[in-house]
Symmetry: D2
Subunit: 431 residues, 4 copies
């Protein structure tokens, strides 16, 4: 209808004007206008205010309604992050078995090439052996007591009431199960750490909700002790921490491969002795010298790319990238390489995994929670993460051991060199 259409156009200009003038805030657009329209109004207002064109941000195919309601307030569009493919990567796991393609969202030249080369090495070495422990998601509220006697009493009271917490937990979600409550007392402060199995979800939100109910409905009313914060930095979420390094959080991932001398030489352009020395002086002594919590070459790179592509909570790369790589020389010039990631929160369901491109990336690896076995999809995902990190780690250590990191970056980052075309693609030319 012409009329409504016209009034609509008028409305839009008017809305833009009101945002530009400051009469309205971004979140104050009328609830009745469609999310994609609201996004357009916001973009137009921002363009007028700042002079910036925002057309690309407006070029998205995702469902604006879902994005703006579930993920992102004041929605204006989508950032596009390039996605490339590494693989196939051969995985011998309990949930993932076979060859998989890895979607990685990154802007860092050479990363995918590097992981890809690692995949080639794994293919020639019988694949990555992987197993994952489902430690579970944690929430760590903090309480204020009158002093150490009450602190001790609270901890003892909690210990005898765990069954009730388990029951309340089960009533909040059929996928959530309370596994353990541990504690630390510091004077008039008590920290509890609730640890949960969460099915295929990452679990941060459902555990927050459950702990909130346990605290508000049971602990506070019955003990009279006040909870100061539902998250007392004793979870610990999105911070590197010794607690999670020691006790684990989310998924605790182990992966390994043994690579023979000829694969080291042909595919990775290195030898066992050189690779083991890079591992020793860089990943062990270097991280010790720096007081680093990560004893690896670049777990964070692979995790960040994987997390963006698959809709994980990207801030959790902070804790997810903690871990220890081992490289040990074996007989006949082979090396044994392993990765250990004790603290990786992951989801196959919920959060950003429901977004369109992210869901496609997961589907590409066969990750689709199908209800057959609760938690199996996210365990499969975790095994793939372990294999991917192993591939990336072996490849970068090999590249460093060949002294070619800089030249590889140089070549690829400047865009002047096409990908090489030999059978074993990798990020380095023969010198």
């Amino acid at each position: 209808m012409e009329h409504s259409n016209k009034s609509h156009l008028l409305d839009r200009d008017e809305l833009v004007r009101s945002l530009v003038s400051g009469e309205r805030r971004m979140h104050e657009l009328p609830a009745v206008i469609a999310p994609e329209e609201a996004a357009a109004v916001r973009r137009q207002a921002l363009s007028e205010m700042t002079g910036a064109s925002l057309d690309h941000l407006g070029s998205y195919s995702l469902d604006a309604r879902k994005a703006s309601h579930r993920h992102c307030e004041n929605f204006i569009g989508a950032a596009q992050v390039p996605v490339g493919i590494a693989g196939p990567i051969p995985v011998n796991g309990n949930y993932a078995n076979g060859e998989f393609y890895l979607p990685l969202a990154t802007t860092e030249a050479a990363l995918i090439a590097s992981v890809n080369r690692g995949c080639a090495a794994l293919r020639r070495s019988g694949g990555a052996t992987v197993f994952v422990e489902d430690v579970g998601m944690t929430r760590g509220p903090v309480f204020r007591t009158s002093g150490i006697i009450e602190s001790r009493a609270l901890v003892q009271w909690v210990e005898v009431n765990v069954t009730r917490f388990e029951e309340l937990t089960a009533s909040t979600s059929r996928y959530l199960r309370l596994r353990e409550v541990s504690s630390t007392i510091m004077g008039a402060t008590v920290f509890l750490r609730f640890r949960f199995a969460c099915g295929d979800a990452m679990g941060m939100n459902m555990t927050t909700f459950a702990v909130d109910r346990i605290v508000r409905e049971i602990i506070e009313p019955e003990t009279g002790v006040a909870c100061v914060a539902i998250s007392g930095n004793y979870c610990v979420d999105k911070k590197p921490s010794a607690l999670n390094f020691v006790l684990g959080r989310g998924k605790r991932i182990h992966a390994e491969v043994t690579i023979a001398a000829d694969v080291l030489r042909k595919t990775l352009k290195t030898t066992a002795a050189v690779l083991a020395e890079v591992q020793y002086r860089k990943n062990l002594l270097g991280s010790i010298a720096a007081g680093a919590m990560g004893f690896n070459a670049h777990y964070a790179n692979i995790l960040a790319a994987f997390f963006i592509a698959t809709g994980q909570d990207v801030a959790q790369v902070v804790e997810g990238s903690l871990g220890v790589t081992c490289v040990e020389a074996r007989d006949n010039g082979a090396i044994y390489a392993s990765v250990y990631l004790p603290d990786v929160p992951l989801a196959a369901l919920g959060g950003g995994t429901g977004l369109e491109t992210q869901r496609e990336a997961l589907a590409l690896m066969g990750i689709t929670p199908d209800g057959a076995e609760v938690g199996a999809a996210v365990m499969r995902l975790a095994e793939l993460v372990g294999a991917a990190v192993l591939a990336g780690e072996v490849s970068l250590l090999a590249a460093l051991s060949s002294n070619e990191l800089a030249s590889a970056h140089e070549r690829l980052a400047r865009g002047t060199t096409a990908l090489t075309r030999n059978a074993d693609f990798d990020c380095k030319k023969p010198r």
Copy 2:
């Protein structure tokens, strides 16, 4: 032309078939086919192999040629990450002065709402005062010597040759300047840490390149000492480390605000006493109890959203999110709040900042390296990061202090509740 068109179509099917059969690898597509076409071929092959639809990944507006050459090998398309707007945020800095809108790419419900509420509090409090120290980018190669005597000799030799390293550095880029070389000796291992000013770039690649040349052209040939790896985990890149926490890396960011009692009450729904207690028991004691390296509530959330939106290296959120929040009660019921981020690598130029949506996000904040003053654009960006983190931190601490984190998440994550529409939008309802 029909013919070539047809042959092209034939080619495409044939290429897809060769990928599916494994005859060809993803990176072995003929160099002559256009990047967007190569991406389509890869998507089609992957779909056939896995049954997954990848249409949304193929819905991008970015320049496939640039993306595939500079950022992402085996390019297949783009992940879309929802972007929302927080602000305006008032900033009193040396490079950023005035009000700014913050683009944040996130899938975590309530994050933008929370930052937005922090911005409202800042607007009513005279804005965020910010200053940034340009510590510089570092690279830390590791060397093997014959023992401590040669190790000491190497360090002494380096000290008297710094001028030559400076000159070589200057010859590699007019934006790069060597500032300092420091060292640690551990037996037969020597770590050097080169620290550089990098203009508006983040600098990891250009410093790798410069250090590689310094090592290959000067140090190795003249001393005979072998470099084991150009990056010896003594940089330290993308790992949480005490070294960077103490000495800084990238930008070292300071921001603060004093918030009066009525703003605390009306905008943040809290009081000075409660807020200070949450800070004390959570950010200080909680992080101590957990052996965490971050003494803050959620720097990682804001940084991850900011980094994705603006094309930063997302894996560097790991180190960027280290830092310490202070909240101190002041007279008349006010609080003083500050954030300290000692280790934030940032770019206004290069890397992912050149991608289309990311460039728009930067332009939205007026970040466009214009050559007028080298490094000014990235310093402006760093000041905005400081202000944004301050807003997010104050808001979440306030939310926790109101015991409503769980319910806010509940409401927003399930998409059942529209954004509230009152003047001071935030993630919590009046009780």
Copy 3:
């Protein structure tokens, strides 16, 4: 008899000569000569070789036979460390109840004076409330496996065999009881952490012995997995570690006191506000800025003095001194202060506690294992440690808050000023 006496003298000169010439080593003195005589021979030889007089080292009253057999090979005498008394200190514990005098062996001027002043403050505040958790002594052997699959199998095998380890443990000592076995897998490496109750002993030796037998008699023969070292630095003994900070080791000690405004003013010459600020900016922010593992003012001082005086293993001050002090302002100008020491190995029996002066120091506090209740003596000792550390901590923080640390040290360390004689002795003058 003259003859034997003479031959003896000849022997002595001859023995000295053989040590000086290097014919004999210090430990090669004939087994038949008495330990005190062997010590004299060694001293004489050393004096001849170095020109140093060693008469004071030879002035000891301890039993040379016991010392040289049980504590100290190549025994030459005893170091004399001055012992002073602080107290009485009022303690409200489960094992220690009443007033106690604390023996402290130190060479650091002002330390005892400072603890003493803290005791005075405690006496005027109802005493120190203390409780101790008997976490237990740990040993952490390390194993080499063929890879992660065998690593996991080993851990699972251990879990189902714990009862057998308990039985073997019980057979080695009636005071030793195995409480828990935990583990970490890193690729082809497995760490087990055995945790034991040890009665009144510190337990390092008896647990090493038990773990050695468990490993040699059960784990290695039955699994075929090799133990690389009985102590795999996963215990962790005598190193500061996050593992022990989080999980505890030895005794986990909690102590607290609330001090009223007038006691703060008169005895400690400070106020709640100033004391709380010193705590905040020094013990919390300062230790954070330094990346320190201890969030306290000087636990190590009190522990070192206490450990030397009472015959503890002094090297364990390294882990014992980890911990967190809290100081919180309370109503009416009072403060609440607590100390938390998660990792304090302690003995009331065995090791250096059997030496003469050390046994006297323990007896002075009523610490004498009497068999009535196994473990009660060491728990009493632990409660006294907690109270002593609390007294020292409160006093030094107060001294710092009065800006007088330097002048107190100046006065006392130079020996020019006698102890003050007013009723509330302390290390500071009125201003």
Copy 4:
């Protein structure tokens, strides 16, 4: 005189009675009575109150006057700690060159035997090569500002006033020299770290005094910024800290040795491969798994024994024992072993080094500050510490690699086995 003698006796009983009754406190004995008499009075009173005999504590030869005035308030006597001798140890240093005997005060059976075996291995390997960096003593006061702008202004003001601090420092002691002032800003808190050269003294007291004067006479009056505490835990004294690990404190000590295959076999009963594996899985992976700050086997044991014997500040073993051991396989079955201790405060003068037995222990090693070269004596001492730690480390790692730690402890700790008498004494029997 009989009369005065009698009155004296009466006085003594009277004094004892007044202590027992609580009329007098320990520190309130009349200033005119001699320190040894005061000590006797206190012992007698304590015996009456507690029933404990304190005769051995009263059996000392040290100068009670000096001890009670300079080291130890409320002096009652001395703890006797058994001292044994290890060595001779061959040292190739810049200050210590030749063979030395090491005095070690310990109650831990097998320690001296173990170090002694390490000395034997060093003697057969050309000795320990050592060098020491004199980093210097530090004091880290903390200041409160109005916020980050004043914080930055303070740091900038300090930078331009360093020369004045240097001058004031020089006026407080001719041995003290200010080397550097560094800083960290956290919101309204500023930490300064003053680093000094201290001659032969450890320097804690003289630096505290100098920093106190700099703060009270220059910084506070001229800037108006308040110092909250002269020690802001940013020194960092007697806590394990990343700051000191990275930047060093006191002496930074390096020592190394290369041990041939036959010495490994005959003296240390091990091989290069086994020793390197113990190092790798224990000192590196084990400490990583435990989140430990020390990557070594038992630095703390050697340091504690050395510190007690030579009158060092024993609480500084906490920081002194941080460090990293390296063991690397070399050609022909040899190993290269090094130790690195970045943070060892040491004194050849002042503090406990002036006590009688401690002075003898120092003299035994030729450590006597003679004024010829200021600081040379303490550097010699530091080189000996490095060599001693190296000997102890190599020996324990070898013992662990032979799987005999437990049995050695068992044998020696129970006193049932005499020291072996073969030429290469060590703590293990041939198998």
